[in-house]
Amino acid sequence: MRPACLPTRLRGWLLDAYADRAGMAVWLLDEDNRRVRLLDPFRPTFYLAGPRHALDAVLRALPRRGCPLTTRWVERHELGSPDPVPVLEVAVHQPSRFPTLVRRLLQQCDQVQFYHVDVPLPQRYFYERGLFPLARCEVEVTVDGTIRAIHAVDSPWDTGYATPPLTILELSLEGRVSNPNHGGVCNLIVRVEGEERCLEGDDGAELVARLNQLLHRHDPDVILTDWGDSYILPRLLTLASRVRLPLALNRDADRPVGMQAPRSYFSYGRILANAGARTLYGRLHVDRQNSFVMAETGFPGLIEQARVTKVPLQHMARTTTGTGITAMQLETAHHDGILIPYRKREPEEFKSALELLHTDQGGLVYAPVLGYHENVGELDFASMYPSIMTRFNISPETVNCSCCAHDPAARVPEIGHHTCRHRTGLVPRTLIPLLSKRAQYKRLLAATADPMTRQVLDQRQTALKWLLVVSFGYLGYKNARFGRIEAHESVTAYSREILLQAKETAEHRGFRLLHAIVDSLWVHKPGATRGDYEALARAIAARTTLPIMVEGIYRWIGFLPSRVDPRMPVPNQFVGMFETGESKIRGLEIRRADAPLIVKKAQAEVLRSLSQAQTVVELRAHVTHALEIIRAYRHYLQSGRASLEDLIIAKSISREPQAYRHQTMTAIAARELLRHGVRLQPGETIHYVMTDAAAPLAEDRVRAVATLDGAWSYDARAYETLLLKSARVILAPLGLNPTDLDDLTNPGSSRA
């Protein structure tokens, strides 16, 4: 792919960068639509600190590693320390040997502190050169493709950037919706430049040859797959090896396909599965089924996150959003000459259990006033936690700094901490441009009518929203490089104070607080207009100094009861109809991934019917129609005509199948898959149908979808129970009790 004679100056988009023996391999998509591999003689560095004898020992050990290095003494800062510290800088001349060298030193030198050792090299390269994934660049090159100079001509903070004309080849499995690793055989579908082909797998050699042909002909920049990481690419590579044909997935033919094993991890209290990775060189592989950011924000959101975080696109697609925000903090640290420690070592300061009781609290919640209400305004603080971090300068090194301990203005409300009034912290410095860019996108969105442009802008602002959302959690998260629990506690303390101030301001102006949860308030005042709610938002913003906006005015909103105890309200569980005719729903089956489709369909129809009501009185009048809808669905279930798609229940397994102690539906289905030879990891989603929920033999109660053959039937009664539960939560506050709901919707009942 390297043209015989390159012009000395190139312009194009930076497609990929990775460590090579003599520098960083850089793939450019140039203005003549060529894909060019260049080499930048970049020498990554790391730093060492420690007792002189230990560093001398490292120095003596270094040259014997057989990898050219340069060392020198330099001064750098530890985060929060005003005085620089002398550290030994080690520059590695062969970037591809950097990880091995560091790994060996880490094992051998336990008296030395390591810095900058585990920042991925492509990110280090981007930081040093001011580049980022898919940046538009100007490059000066020698005839052999060595980069003399490279710089970006656009900025990751631009909002009106153009994306490169990428050629995308899609690989998927014919008709497949659930995880193919759980069973079944499918044909491979290839889509590229408007054409779709089905490659059948009878003759392995032919399949590999045909795929190679397509890869050579179209030379895609991106291979976009469904289940590519865990199923398609591993199987294609095995097949290619079996038939002894090379598979041209990589553009860089000297490289094997990158491989990362699957893993399970905890996030926000849930165990999640990552299907591992199959990554390419010079070409990008993105698996839609193994990418949170793709699922939430599509390709435009993925590009946006990769640009601002400087995490290579393939990695950004598969990693957590928290890794993205951490990468941004690492860049801030790197540019400020702050040492990036290997692993987080700073523990929590000792505090008494009494202090812990006061400080270790979350956001404030006011339980909702149960039932349906009219003319309710919802006011939301914009990116409340990141705004608090920037407004009050909350960062690991600014909380409880040594310079502001006695400044009353620096005190965090309620708890004994204070924040620095003199130096802006690393976390706020990282977040300020992010908040500003998202605000710009929102302004552009408000001023744009074109639906396609609106969609892209919305996906980009959502991608930034996710980075902002996790920025708070990462202050306290164990893997956050610059996290600190006291900073986390300070943010929640400020948030409680601010919500309290907002509530007081609303009540002072005659509004009644119906519900509040951390950064949102639902308030009501008879006869209040949009102008009144806007004025309230301005008053709250003035008092709290944080931006707050009217999310909308509800014609009506229902705060719905607990499914366990109908007298108990549940925070953030509601259905509401805005003046605009749009609805907002939280906590109902229709938004839950594990609810069967038939339940979602029925609930959606009920809500559509209710949405026609303008007032709570009219809502009550629509109950009869809602009951008819439920009755029709029960009839459909009882008739035995419900399809498999209607009935599938998707559940994430929280442990390995053998580790379940109780015979839950999920455990039974997981064990069934295990008996069929399917290997499952905690966090993975499995699909099943309820066949006889009350059967004495556990194996008869549910069947895993992947193992279903021709003969199976479903338990209509069990699905009816789910259906009734989903209706009850909406209709109970309108005066319908469970017995009446059951009787009035049962096709066989005389009351129906």
Binding site: Q107, E348, A353, L354, L356
Partner: protein, 222 residues
């Protein structure tokens, strides 16, 4: 509401049992390891409360994020003491990574012992952060080695040390040797089990093995 009076009566039988066991920790016992069922964490909180009720200052190093000030408050109240006073005598630091735990023990503990004039150190789930697959085994083994050397040093200086360690979770594949390494350093080993009758404690390896039991009624009303 027949059991409404129970909370006031709970600590007496429970603390009486603890007092008869090596968990009394009034005297120098070296390193006592309480291991087995996750009930070890609750027992550790009971021991911390017991010592704080007696007026001692306690250092609680939490590697499992299980510190429960509400339980301590309830126990204190039931013991006839003001919860705030008891909570004020227990000093906590949480570690969320093995590197933080190592630094806490090797670099921060000595200062905290001086500041709070504490004699009792409770290490709650010291190994929980060491099961993180993201940190190579050799690295965690080195960190544990340094922690244990520091603990031996404090035991030698006459501090009382209680380690609370449940059996490794299934995800900790290949790292169950860490618990063996820890137990090899302990002066007294107490195995904790949950049974139908409640929670049982059994001393392992002593010349005259002994056991203690906490009834289900007492345990569940904590």
């Amino acid at each position: 509401m027949a059991n409404a009076v129970l909370p006031a009566q709970v600590p007496s039988p429970l603390l009486a049992i603890l007092h008869r066991s090596p968990l009394r920790l009034e005297r120098q016992n070296g390193l006592v390891l309480l291991f087995g069922h996750p009930a070890v964490f609750r027992l550790g909180l009971c021991v911390a409360t017991d010592r704080a009720l007696a007026g001692d200052s306690v250092l609680y190093l939490d590697g499992a994020n299980v510190f429960d000030p509400f339980l301590i408050g309830r126990l204190a109240r039931a013991g006839g003491a003001a919860p705030n006073a008891v909570l004020g005598r227990i000093h906590v630091s949480r570690a969320f990574t093995c590197h933080q735990m190592a630094r806490l023990v090797t670099e921060r503990l000595a200062g905290a012992l001086r500041t709070y004039r504490a004699r009792l150190i409770i290490l709650s789930g010291p190994l929980e952060t060491f099961y993180d697959e993201a940190v190579p085994y050799q690295e965690v083994a080195g960190l544990l080695h340094r922690i244990l050397a520091t603990l031996r040093h404090f035991a030698h200086l006459g501090h009382r040390l209680l380690c609370l360690s449940p059996v490794p979770p299934p995800e900790a594949k290949g790292r169950d040797t860490l618990l063996k390494t820890l137990s090899a350093q302990a002066n007294r080993l107490i195995w904790v089990e949950a049974t139908e009758a409640g929670v049982s404690l059994r001393e392992i390896g002593a010349s005259a093995p002994r056991s203690w039991g906490i009834s289900r009624v007492v345990w569940e009303s904590l």
